[in-house]
């Protein structure tokens, strides 16, 4: 039979969750070869908001957890087609061209166009998590075997009961990108071409633009963007680059194993050192947790000796 009963309302659990949520942040980068182009990302984000919904099934449901992108940069390195002149037929014949002019190319080598999009602040994303509470007993690896409870107290190596939120599933919803993403991409492409050709005289740039055609269309075709850039970006980040899977894994690992919702020292201190008198601590032999749709209840059983 337990000795202590401690209950936290749904709001209190939400507050606890908010405390650990605020400690979560990510800073990652990766790239992948997509064939006609390479793509990569640099992301940094933290979490805000979120509502905690305790359920009679014993689950903890966290909804509308906002991903706030501190940095979301997407790179694409695109091979643009050869730009060559000449190559026209000098002497045609019914059987094909007999004599053809040489092709002279503008670039000595196939150039890459580097596109760098800063999308932080333009993407709205939300996480949902369904989790179960998980209690573990933590013994600090630095604690020597056989160390007594008071020496452990002094060395800050007391054992702990730890309560984690162990996700069953994590969902990430990517909502509409801001309307300006399309324009941003177009600007980035045009600027990339200008960066490539910046030292050429104006007439030469104009000719190259004319030969390339609308570069934006060309690049979009290479990137296979289609009509819906939002969908393309989401697909690029989510499927090709696996960014969303990475986020889900990082979030799940953080809550399930790295940062507990609650840490209870064992033995539990109720009176500190006082004028040289040793602290008064209570051994917690057993801890149980139950969740219903109103509250989270911990039941603690005290041990008879330390």
């Amino acid at each position: 039979m337990s000795h202590f009963t401690v209950a936290s309302s749904e709001a209190a659990v939400g507050k606890l969750f908010g405390g650990i949520r605020d400690g979560f942040s990510v800073d990652e980068s990766d790239s992948v070869n997509m064939g006609p182009f390479t793509a990569g990302y640099e992301v940094a984000f933290h979490l805000e908001g979120g509502t905690v919904d305790l359920q009679n099934s014993g689950n903890i449901l966290i909804k509308e957890l906002d991903i706030k992108w501190d940095k979301l940069r997407v790179f694409a390195g695109i091979d643009i087609p050869e730009l060559c002149i000449g190559g026209f037929c000098i002497i045609p014949s019914p059987w094909g061209c007999v004599l053809r002019a040489p092709r002279i190319c503008v670039f000595d080598d196939n150039p890459d166009l580097g596109i760098d999009l800063d999308l932080g602040g333009l993407l709205t994303s939300e996480l949902s998590i369904a989790a179960k509470p998980k209690l573990t007993y933590f013994i600090d690896p630095a604690r020597p075997v056989g160390m007594n409870w008071l020496d452990a107290e002094d060395a800050n190596l007391a054992n702990q009961w730890r309560l984690f939120i162990d996700p069953d599933w994590v969902d990430i919803d990517v909502f509409d990108w801001s309307d300006i993403v399309g324009d941003l991409l177009d600007d980035a492409i045009n600027t990339a071409v200008d960066d490539l050709l910046w030292f050429l005289p104006g007439w030469a740039k104009s000719l190259i633009h004319a030969i390339l055609g609308p570069v934006v269309d060309l690049v979009r075709a290479i990137l296979d963007i289609g009509d819906d850039i939002d969908e393309w970006l989401s697909n690029l980040l989510g499927v090709s680059l696996g960014l969303f899977d990475l986020i889900i894994t990082l979030v799940a690992d953080y809550f399930a194993g790295k940062t507990p919702l609650l840490k209870i020292e064992d033995p539990f201190p109720i009176m500190p050192y006082q004028n040289g008198l040793i602290p008064v601590k209570l051994p917690i032999e057993k801890l149980d947790i139950t969740i219903n749709d109103k509250e989270m209840v911990l039941a603690a059983t005290l041990g008879a000796s330390l």
Binding site: S9, P269, I278, L302
Partner: protein
């Protein structure tokens, strides 16, 4: 009905739990419940009741007793003191409705929101043996000036006592003893718990509502001793047993610095002693 229907946090400890807490308290802070002279502290085998202390008390040289001054032998002008000890043992707590402790009729029925406490108050006196007493008598014979009749007659006044040269005063002594004369009294008390604010923290403060020592006669002596024991408990023991309120909910919010914990207002009883439990209802306030 949920525990937290009226508050953000709820904490409760049942009777078995509180008695375990008391047991751990007594083992970790024995000096709160055991008092005696230095001699007794140095010879704990003389105690009326063996102290069951946690090994860490010994390891860290914590005192088993609170040291008190020896009991002065009246009339010796502070020159003679006796060793003694006073111990509170077998302490038990019972929450309303009381079903573990049978209160004496003087205390009546345990009222709502009250807890009952029973303990044995054991005391032991280091009474000097006959040999020691005779030696002491000789000492005091030398110290004190006898009154001779012929001195009174020769002076012509029965009231005049001629001056004699004063003998050298010995140092005060505490009479050593090989055994205390021990006795125990059954003590019963009833009380309630309040939450008071100290700075920005809230602490549980047990309050004594009544105390009864069973079957002491004459009644006036019982009353006086009860008064003394109550004073010890109220002034010496309870003030050293204040525990921060958040401890009952395992400091859940202690790491969230922007939250302040306060007792939930507007409840009929907070804390509440009912159903054999001590309960507390706590609200969080965002700082």
């Amino acid at each position: 009905m949920a525990f937290t229907d009226h508050s953000d946090l709820y904490g409760a400890i049942n009777e078995e739990g509180i008695n375990l807490v008391v047991r751990h308290l007594m083992r970790l802070r024995p000096s709160l419940f055991n008092y005696g002279t230095t001699f007794i502290a140095q010879n704990p085998e003389l105690l009326c009741h063996k102290i069951d202390a946690d090994p860490m008390v010994y390891a860290r040289n914590n005192p088993l007793l609170t040291i008190e001054s020896p009991l002065p032998v009246l009339g010796t002008n502070g020159l003679v003191g006796l060793n003694y000890c006073v111990q509170l043992v077998d302490m038990k707590v019972d929450f309303h409705p009381g079903n573990r402790i049978t209160l004496p009729p003087e205390l009546g029925q345990l009222k709502k929101q009250q807890f009952a406490l029973s303990a044995k108050a054991c005391a032991g006196l280091g009474c000097p043996d006959e040999e020691t007493m005779r030696m002491l008598e000789k000492v005091f014979d030398r110290i004190n000036t006898p009154i001779f009749v012929d001195d009174l007659v020769n002076s012509g006044s029965l009231t005049h006592v001629p001056d004699r040269p004063a003998a050298t005063q010995p140092k005060p002594i505490v009479v050593p003893t090989r055994k205390l004369k021990c006795f125990c009294l059954e003590v019963f008390a009833v009380g309630h718990i309040e939450i008071i604010q100290i700075g920005n923290r809230f602490v549980f403060k047990p309050k004594l509502d009544g105390l009864e020592i069973v079957d002491l006669r004459p009644q006036e002596m019982e009353d006086s001793i009860e008064c003394y024991v109550a004073s010890v408990i109220r002034l010496g023991l309870l003030p050293r047993l204040q525990v921060a309120m958040e401890k009952i909910v395992f400091d859940q919010m202690s790491e969230i610095l922007t939250v302040t914990l306060k007792p939930t207002p507007g409840l009929p009883n907070n804390p509440a002693i009912e159903g054999d439990e001590l309960k507390v209802f706590i609200n969080m306030e965002v700082a």
